[in-house]
C-alpha cells in the first residue's frame, strides 16, 4: 500500500524525456492488406523509450495486426517499421522484444518455472543461470510458491502472470502485449493492471499494449492511441498526464474520468460508439 506522502509525489516512471531520443518503435505509413481487406491504412506511430503506449479500438481496427507487424510476425504491405533502430526481423532475431498473448500460451508439459525458463533455454543459457533468473522473475510476479506447479493447476490470472514473467525473463527492450487481460474477470484484471504498472516501473521496459478496455488503457498508459476500423487507422493519440505512481485511487481522480471521456468521445466522434 502506498502511504499518503508517497502518493502525493509525482514520479515519472519512464526515463528522463530527451528531445532527440530515438523511438523504440517507429511505424511509418504502414499499410497492410489481407486480400481485399485493408487491415491497416497509412498508420504512423512513434513509441518513445520507456513509454507505455496502448492501442485501443473496436474489433477489426487493426490493433493486433499493428502489434504483429511490429513483432515481425506479419509483414507490412507497404511502409516502414523500425524497432530498436533495426528492421523488425533483425529485432526479432536479436530477441529485442518479449510478447504476451491473450491466451497465456504456456506449455502444459512444463512446470511454471520451466515455462519461464523457455526463452532462456532457446538462447542457450546454462541451467544454473536459467533457474536463478526464472526464480527472480517468479518473485517479480509473486508466484514463487507455484514454481513447481503445472499451468493447468493455476487460475487464468496466475497463468497470465507466468506469461509476463516469461516474456520479461531475458530483459527485452520492448514488451508487446496483445489483449493480455482480455479473458480475465474485471477484478483480476484491475489487480493485474496494478501489478503490471509495478513491473513496468521496476524493469523500465517499453510497452506496446493492445486492449479494447478504455479504463484499462487510460489507467496504464503514458499515451493512448485510438484506432478505427475498416480500414484500420490512427484516429488520435491522447497523452495521459495522470500522476504516478498510479494506484487504486487513480481510478477515482477527476482527471482519470476526463481522459476516459476523451477516449470515449474520440470513438463516438468517429461513429464507433
Amino acid at each position: 500500500m502506498t502511504s499518503p506522502e508517497e502518493a502525493a509525489v509525482t514520479v515519472e516512471a519512464g526515463p528522463p524525456v530527451v528531445a532527440a531520443a530515438e523511438p523504440t518503435v517507429a511505424v511509418r505509413h504502414v499499410t497492410r492488406t489481407f486480400g481485399e481487406v485493408t487491415a491497416l491504412s497509412d498508420v504512423s506511430l512513434d513509441v518513445a523509450p520507456g513509454s507505455f503506449v496502448s492501442l485501443i479500438g473496436p474489433s477489426g481496427c487493426g490493433k493486433s495486426t499493428l502489434l504483429r507487424v511490429i513483432a515481425d510476425l506479419l509483414e507490412p504491405s507497404s511502409g516502414e517499421v523500425v524497432v530498436a533502430g533495426k528492421t523488425p526481423h533483425r529485432a526479432r532475431t536479436d530477441r529485442d522484444y518479449g510478447m504476451v498473448f491473450q491466451k497465456a500460451t504456456l506449455f502444459d508439459w512444463r512446470t511454471v518455472r520451466r515455462n519461464v525458463e523457455l526463452p532462456l533455454e532457446l538462447m542457450g543459457w546454462d541451467r544454473t543461470r536459467r533457474r536463478a533468473r526464472a526464480d527472480e522473475m517468479l518473485a517479480l510476479v509473486e508466484l514463487t510458491d507455484f514454481a513447481k506447479h503445472r499451468p493447468a493447476q493455476l487460475s487464468g490470472g496466475m497463468q497470465q502472470r507466468v506469461a509476463i514473467a516469461r516474456a520479461l525473463a531475458f530483459s527485452p527492450k520492448l514488451l508487446l502485449m496483445d489483449e493480455p487481460f482480455g479473458a480475465l474477470d474485471e477484478i483480476t484484471r484491475e489487480r493485474l493492471n496494478l501489478e503490471l504498472l509495478d513491473i513496468w516501473t521496476k524493469t523500465r521496459t517499453t510497452v506496446v499494449f493492445v486492449t479494447h478496455s478504455i479504463p484499462e488503457a487510460v489507467f496504464l498508459s503514458t499515451d493512448v492511441v485510438v484506432m478505427s476500423p475498416r480500414p484500420g487507422r490512427v484516429l488520435r493519440r491522447i497523452p495521459v498526464d495522470l500522476p504516478r505512481p498510479r494506484d487504486t485511487g487513480t481510478r477515482e481522480l477527476d482527471r482519470y474520468f476526463e481522459l476516459v471521456t476523451e477516449v470515449r468521445e474520440t470513438l463516438r466522434g468517429a461513429g464507433l460508439l
Binding site: F107, M123, Q153
Partner: protein
C-alpha cells in the same frame, strides 16, 4: 484456484482397482455357474475352473508359446511403431510427403492382415520369425504414422507464434514444442497397437510353421478336441497383451505426466 484444489483432491484419492476386480470376479462366477447348471459341453464353453487347471498344468508349454509369439509381437510392435513415427515425422517436415502419404496410409490401414500373412510367409519364409514380425509391424505402422502426423500438428497457432517471436530455429520448435505436444497422440497409437500386435502375431501364427507358437497350439489343440487347452492358450495371450498394454500405460504416465489419465 478451483482447478488446483481439484487436482489436489484427485491426488489424495488413490485410483481404486476394486470395482474392476469385483466385476471380473462376478463374470467368472456367473460363467462357472452357467456351465455347471446347464451342463454345457466343453466344446462350446469350458468352465473357468477347468481352464485354470489346464493353464496351471500347461505352464511350461504356454511360456514357450508366449516366447515364440510374444517375441514376434514385441519386435513387430517396436519396429512398426518406430517406423510409423519416423515416417510420420518426415511427413510433417515435408508437405509433399504428407499429402501423398495420408491417403495411402488410410487405404493401407484398411488392408485386412489375415490377407497379408500368407504373402509375408511366401516372401520371407514360413519358418522365419521375420514374416510374423512383418505382419505385426505392418498392422502397427499406420495408426502410429497417422497419430504422429496429427500429434505433431496439434500445437496451437499461438504456441507456434510464440516460438516464432523467440526466433527459434526449426530444430528447437520441433524438440521443445511439436514433439512434446505430440506425445499424447503417440501414446494413443501405442495403446491401440499393444492390443493389435498380439492379435496380428497370433493370426500370422495360424499361417506360419512355428510348432511352438501360440497360434499353432490353438489350431492343433482344437483339432485334437482339447478345448480347455486352447482356452488356456487364449488366457495366456490375454495376459501377455495386458502386460504389454500395462507397460505402455506406465511409460505414458511417466512421460506424459501433465495429462490426466
Amino acid at each position: 484456484m478451483t482447478a488446483a484444489l481439484l487436482t489436489e483432491v484427485r491426488r489424495l484419492r488413490p485410483p481404486s482397482a476394486l470395482p474392476a476386480a469385483l466385476t471380473a470376479l462376478a463374470v467368472l462366477v456367473a460363467w462357472e455357474v452357467v456351465v455347471r447348471v446347464f451342463a454345457i459341453r466343453p466344446i462350446l464353453l469350458p468352465a473357468p475352473s477347468a481352464i485354470a487347471a489346464t493353464f496351471v498344468a500347461d505352464v511350461p508349454r504356454l511360456v514357450r508359446a508366449l516366447v515364440v509369439t510374444g517375441r514376434a509381437a514385441l519386435l513387430g510392435f517396436v519396429l512398426g511403431s518406430l517406423g510409423g513415427f519416423a515416417v510420420g515425422a518426415a511427413a510433417t517436415r515435408w508437405r509433399v510427403l504428407r499429402e501423398g502419404l495420408i491417403p495411402v496410409g488410410v487405404v493401407f490401414g484398411a488392408v485386412p492382415i489375415v490377407a497379408t500373412a500368407p504373402i509375408f510367409n511366401l516372401w520371407l519364409g514360413a519358418l522365419s520369425i521375420w514374416s510374423n514380425v512383418a505382419v505385426v509391424a505392418l498392422v502397427v505402422f499406420f495408426p502410429m504414422m497417422i497419430n504422429t502426423i496429427t500429434g505433431l500438428a496439434s500445437a496451437s497457432d499461438s504456441h507456434r507464434e510464440l516460438m516464432r517471436s523467440y526466433a527459434a530455429p526449426q530444430r528447437q520448435v520441433f524438440a521443445k514444442l511439436l514433439l512434446p505436444a505430440s506425445l499424447p497422440f503417440v501414446f494413443g497409437a501405442l495403446r491401440v497397437s499393444a492390443a493389435l500386435s498380439v492379435i496380428a502375431a497370433v493370426v500370422s501364427d495360424f499361417f506360419g510353421g512355428f510348432r511352438d507358437s501360440a497360434g499353432f497350439f490353438i489350431k492343433t489343440l482344437m483339432a485334437n478336441a482339447d478345448y480347455t487347452g486352447s482356452w488356456a492358450t487364449v488366457v495366456a495371450l490375454c495376459l501377455f497383451g495386458l502386460l504389454l498394454y500395462g507397460a505402455v500405460a506406465l511409460a505414458e504416465r511417466w512421460s506424459v505426466p501433465w495429462k490426466e489419465q
